[in-house]
Symmetry: C2
């Protein structure tokens, strides 16, 4: 077989000195410089691969099918040498001149690993697949073999049936302690995690307050059962919570000021599940755990301090950090047994926004950072 | 019987403008103006009471035996009209011209309540007994009848066998999730709560790191089993935790910067139990819950914001607010069944510093605020 194109998305430059203001970026850890298509990342078609003959060195060759564009990718675009600690990255960030990576699904096209034969589909947590059409993995690569529900597309497996779904499912099961009649508040409730949480809460008999930033998102949240929806850009969160709260469970997808406002409006014994800022910080911090220690404070400088933590004892609150990297393995079997079937049947609803081709990655990265995407952003790299 | 003196400690003036610097007050919510004996509070002997004839109006008359001087009393000395929100009090603060109140033990000398007969001893949570020699309570007063262990003195029942002990006991049972071999860090480890926590942790097989501010306190912490003790005034907390940690359980008695430093040095799945600032804030906030809402933010202005809460998801932390007002009732039976006997046998060790007479209250209030007391401060008001 002749060599074929192996298109790649190369990390070309740290996004610096560019744009500034965005409501999406409020309360978030990253500096507000957007990744610029063609500049921060570059789509490159110069590489080729002969899938029939390329040396696998004991590993396996995967053809990428779908890739997930998640907000946290931006957090891996930080310069480890940056003078400003709030902009500084760590050793696990993207390398200039190399393809970026993230969550995705692919199909094995050739393999020297007996447990991972040709034709199997794999889902990767982090560093897989690299954003390229074909990737050779070492035998030690931690990938999960997944089988597709006949009524779902592979794209769902990086969204509601992937990391975002696992975040909602694992965090809820582990920490929510939900009781019927309680009040949930969730921010970015139209996102892949937030919308999943809304539905888990409604199934548990809770009253759901949910916020988002566009009328379209409010309508979607209503359609999946949220009782009270509001646009956080035009409606004061404090006023809503004072009227509709107090809040028994806060699923925090944004952190910062909204967390402080919510802490003021908690019920006794409320549970606070923090993620969001997480969404950015998780991978920056998780991946650096082995090297940890003194340097850690540098990673934190960019975060908005929490002022109302004294509410914790005033109200006997419990606050939990939701880290999908640790929850996903614990709940994986239950999740895959239960969730894809419910997504296929429509019992759990989801949305996604597909773009086709690796050449679209730069645009979608920017849209996700600006919040102009309308649903979970997915790149369809190839049909099978 | 002739009337007898009913000495009282009157709240005379808000402590303001007496600015002062104190390491004790770092990270704490109150302004650093100390209560001045004879000025903030005044001991008054002008009142008399005829214990045999005074009208009880269906209530009962208590002779005060011991009173507890706790740090949080200072937080009730705030002016509800103060312009600076960080100094402002709420409606539950002490009233100018009236006796202060707090925790104490007394004996019923006359009663019109069948369940609370003469001769029984009562322990009061808050607003009992007022700091006076005799107090008439309404029948609805929420007091607990307690019986003294023959080998303990009543003073212990406002310390290790009272609110501080209940804080440690309830918080530990409810939230610590301790496993042998884990590492505990506790601040103000020589205090009545901290020293109790150290011993609970050692009994559970943990390694204990404990901090305090004097050599005498370090020696005491060693004597009750702490493995690593250090003076936070002369030793860098971060350096100790980097060497001896990471921390699996942090019992936070101080909040603020030390909480942030500890968050940087937590193990995965660590539990953070926050109180301390609590110690001040609890009553300010708990008591105002019914009136709550918009004004709440004003109470918080004085607190040090927490910068490293992003560690919550990075490390899958759980953070719990320890509120003795809610934990004490839940654990009361177990606590009184178990703890006084262990205190009497020496299985749990405690310290206390007694002062004799209500005229000493002003001096002891100041000492507790300055941190110059050497152990749990107790006022012996009367022998039986």
């Amino acid at each position: 077989m002749a060599p074929v194109r192996n298109g790649r998305v190369i990390f070309n430059a740290y996004p610096e000195g560019k744009l500034a203001n965005s409501t999406l970026l409020l309360n978030r850890s990253q500096p507000a410089e957007y990744p610029i298509p063609g500049e921060t990342t570059v789509y490159d078609e110069s590489a080729q691969i002969d899938t029939a003959t390329v040396a696998l060195n004991g590993g396996f060759l995967v053809k990428t099918l779908v890739l997930s564009i998640d907000p946290f990718l931006r957090n891996r675009m930080r310069d480890p040498q940056a003078k400003d600690p709030s902009r500084r990255g760590n050793s696990q960030g993207y390398k200039l001149g190399e393809p970026i990576d993230g969550f995705g699904v692919g199909v094995i096209v050739r393999s020297e690993v007996p447990d991972l034969p040709e034709g199997k589909h794999v889902y990767g947590f982090i560093r897989f697949p690299a954003f390229q059409e074909y990737t050779i993995f070492p035998p030690s690569a931690q990938l999960r073999i997944i089988e597709k529900h006949p009524d779902l597309q592979w794209s769902v497996y990086v969204g509601a049936a992937g990391m975002p779904g696992q975040t909602a499912y694992g965090g809820w099961k582990e920490h929510a302690g939900a009781k019927a009649g309680e009040v949930l508040f969730v921010t970015t409730g139209a996102g892949p995690v937030g919308s999943f949480v809304i539905q888990l809460a409604k199934q548990a008999g809770l009253k759901v307050i949910a916020s988002a930033g566009t009328e379209e998102k409010l309508a979607f949240m209503k359609s999946i059962g949220a009782d009270v929806v509001f646009n956080y850009k035009t409606t004061d969160t404090r006023a809503v919570l004072e009227k509709e709260g107090p809040v028994d469970i806060y699923w925090d997808n944004v952190g910062g000021d909204i967390l402080d406002v919510t802490l003021e409006n908690t019920a006794i014994y409320a549970r606070i599940l923090v993620r969001a800022t997480a969404y950015y910080a998780l991978f920056a911090v998780l991946t650096v755990i082995p090297q940890l220690c003194g340097a850690m404070s540098g990673y934190n400088t960019g975060y908005v301090p929490v002022k109302n933590l004294n509410m914790a004892y005033a109200r006997s609150l419990s606050l939990y950090g939701v880290a999908v990297a640790r929850l996903a393995p614990i709940y994986a079997e239950r999740f895959y047994d239960e969730v894809p079937a419910k997504l296929a049947s429509g019992e759990i609803k989801y949305t996604e926004e597909k773009s086709y081709g690796l050449d679209k990655v730069g645009d979608v990265l920017l849209a996700v950072q600006k919040g102009t995407n309308k649903a979970k952003a997915v790149i369809i790299v190839a049909e099978e």
